[in-house]
Symmetry: C2
Subunit: 367 residues, 2 copies
Amino acid sequence: MSLEHLDPWGHAMVRDYERLFKTFGIKPFKPLLSRIRNPMHLMRRGVVFGHRDYESVLDALENGDRPAIVTGFMPSGRFHFGHKMIADQLIYYQRLGFELFVPLADAEAYAVRKIPRSMVVDYALNQYVANLIALGLEKRHLHIYFQTNYEVPYYRLLQMSSRRVTGNEMEAIYGSLEPGKIVAALTQVADILHPQLEYFGGYRHVLVPVGVDQDPHIRLTRDIADRMSEIKLTRPASTYHRFMTGLDGGKMSSSRPDYAIFLDDPVEDAVRKLRRALTGGRPTVEEQRKLGGEPEKCTVYEFYLYHLVLDDAKLLELYRRCREGEMLCGECKRIASEMLASWLREHHRRLEKARDRVLEYVEPPSF
Amino acid sequence: MSLEHLDPWGHAMVRDYERLFKTFGIKPFKPLLSRIRNPMHLMRRGVVFGHRDYESVLDALENGDRPAIVTGFMPSGRFHFGHKMIADQLIYYQRLGFELFVPLADAEAYAVRKIPRSMVVDYALNQYVANLIALGLEKRHLHIYFQTNYEVPYYRLLQMSSRRVTGNEMEAIYGSLEPGKIVAALTQVADILHPQLEYFGGYRHVLVPVGVDQDPHIRLTRDIADRMSEIKLTRPASTYHRFMTGLDGGKMSSSRPDYAIFLDDPVEDAVRKLRRALTGGRPTVEEQRKLGGEPEKCTVYEFYLYHLVLDDAKLLELYRRCREGEMLCGECKRIASEMLASWLREHHRRLEKARDRVLEYVEPPSF
C-alpha cells in the first residue's frame, strides 16, 4: 500500500470535528501552519485542529507585540498525560516569549466539583504545579495563581462581568443556574480577560488554548468582552485541541485511573497499563499481517503521537510499519513501553526536585 | 385626654410589623432595652423595633468581647435623611467601641441597578463617605471599603459561599436568577461574614443593623454560616429598623427627590419641601383643635422622632401639644423648619470640610 493518500495524523479528527467548523465558526488550524515559524508537534500533527482569530495572534507577533496565553487547570485529581499535552502547549508558548497566565481553578473545583479545599490545594501544588515545573515551565513570563488567591482587579472583573450576561445565556451553556456554576463561569471569564487590564500588563492579544468542549466559555467570554463598555477589551483568540483517549478507548480522566497514565505513576504501573491498552490491531495475526493495523484507532499510537515520538520522520516510520502489517501490537507495545519507562524515569527525577520549588511559583490560599 | 395610654413612639409600628414577629421569628427589640446601657434614641423610640440574636451581642459585651457591626450603603444616588438614620446607628456603635465594617455596594449598584461605574464611585465618595464623616464617623474601629476594591480573603469567601446555596433558594429571595443578582447576593454574604475571618480580626459576634426588607438576606447569610463546614462561622445577629416615610407619605427614595430631604440640599430647598410635607392634621382647624392632630401619621413628626429632637422630654411635649390640639400644623412646621435649617447649616459646614478627607477614609477602585 502507498502512504501517499494517508495522513498519519489528524484525518480521523477532521472527520469528527468537521461539524464544529460548519456550525460554530471554528476555523481549521492547518492552513495557518505555513505562517507559524516553528509549529510544535501538536500543531503539525493536527492535535491542535481548530481556532478562532489565531491570525490576530500571528499579526501581533509580526508587529513585535508580546501576546499572552491563558490556560487553566482544574486541580481535581492527579496529573496525567492528557494534562501534559496542555502543559506542552504552555511551555512551547513560554519559550516563544508569550506571557503565560495559568489559573489553578480551585474555586471551581471546590464550588462545582465539591472537592474539599485541602484536597484541591494539595492537588494544585503537588500534582499540577510540580509537574508543570518538572516539564520545564519557567518562572519568567509566568503568572500562575489560585483563583481564590489572586489580585483585586481580577475579582472586580468577575463582579463587573456579572452585569454583561443573562441567566438565559448561562443556562444555555451550563444547563443549570446553580450559584456555584455561575460564579465559576464568571471566574473563568475573569481568568481569560484579566491579562488585558493595565494592572496585569495590558495584553491586548490573548490566546486561550483549550479543548473544544470549552468553546461555549470562549464564545461567552468573547461576547462579554464586546459588551463591557467601560473597559476596552478585545475578543480573546483560541485554539482547540483533540483529547487523548483513555487506554480502553473511553475518556481519559483522573476518575478512571486504570485507563489513564499519571505522570507520577510508578514506572511498572504505567507500563502495565500501557500493555493492556486498546490498540488498532486486527482480530488475528494473519489478518493484521495482511491488512495492517489501524493506528488511528490505537491508544498506544496516540502516546507516540502526543508524547513519546517528537520526530515526525520516526513517527511516520512507526505509522508505516503498523499500517503495512510489518510491526504487530506486541512489538509496538514493547517499543512504546520502553520509551514510556525511560521518559517517566527521567520525569520522576525532575518531579522530585520540582516538588521543593512549588512555593517559588505560587502562593497557596490561607484557607 | 390622657397621654398615659398612648405611646409617642412605635405603637403604629408594632401593628405594622407584628406579622414579622409571628411569621419569621424576628423578636421585638423593646424587651432588650433594659439590658442596654445607653440605648440610642432610635432604640428608645421603637424605630429599631426587632432583632435576631441581639442577646448574643449583649452577652459578648458583658464578657468583654468587642463585637463588630456590618452595614452597607448602596451608592446609587444622593444621601438623604433615611440614610442618616442608618449612619446614626453606625456612629452610636462606633462610639461604644464596636468595630465597624461598612461596605460601599458599588458592585451591586453597577451590576444590578446598572448605574455607570463613574457615577457609583462619585456617589460613594462625595455623597456617602462625605456625609458619614460630617455626621461624625471616625477612622478608628472602621473598615469602610468598596465591594470591588477590598481584600482577597473577602473575595474567597464570596467564591466559597457560592457552593453553600442553591438556585432555588436564590430564586425564592430574588425572584430571578440573573447572574448580576446572584453575584451581588453572594457579595453581600461576604460583606456580612468576613469580619469573622482571622484575616479581618476574627470577630465572632457580628451585628447587622438593617431595614426589615433585608431580612431574607440575613436568613440566607445565617444559613450559609451554618453550612460552611471548612470555616468556623457563627450566625450574625441583626436589628431591624422602620423606614422614614417620604414627605408625601410614600417611600423615601433618592429617585423621588421632591419627597426626600438630602443632606446637601440647600437650606431653602429643604425647608420648602418640609413645608409642603404631609402631616397628621385634620380637615379643618376646628376639628384639629377639638380632636388633636395625629403625629403617628405625620411626616414632620417623623423628622422630630428620627432626627431633630433627641431629647425624649422635648419630643413628648411636641407630641402632647399636637395630640391635644394645642399646636396646629402651621406652628409645628415653623418649629421643624427652624430646627432643620439650623441643623443643615451646621452640617453643610462639616460636609465641606469632610469632602477633603474622603480619601483618608477609603481607597476608590481604579476602574
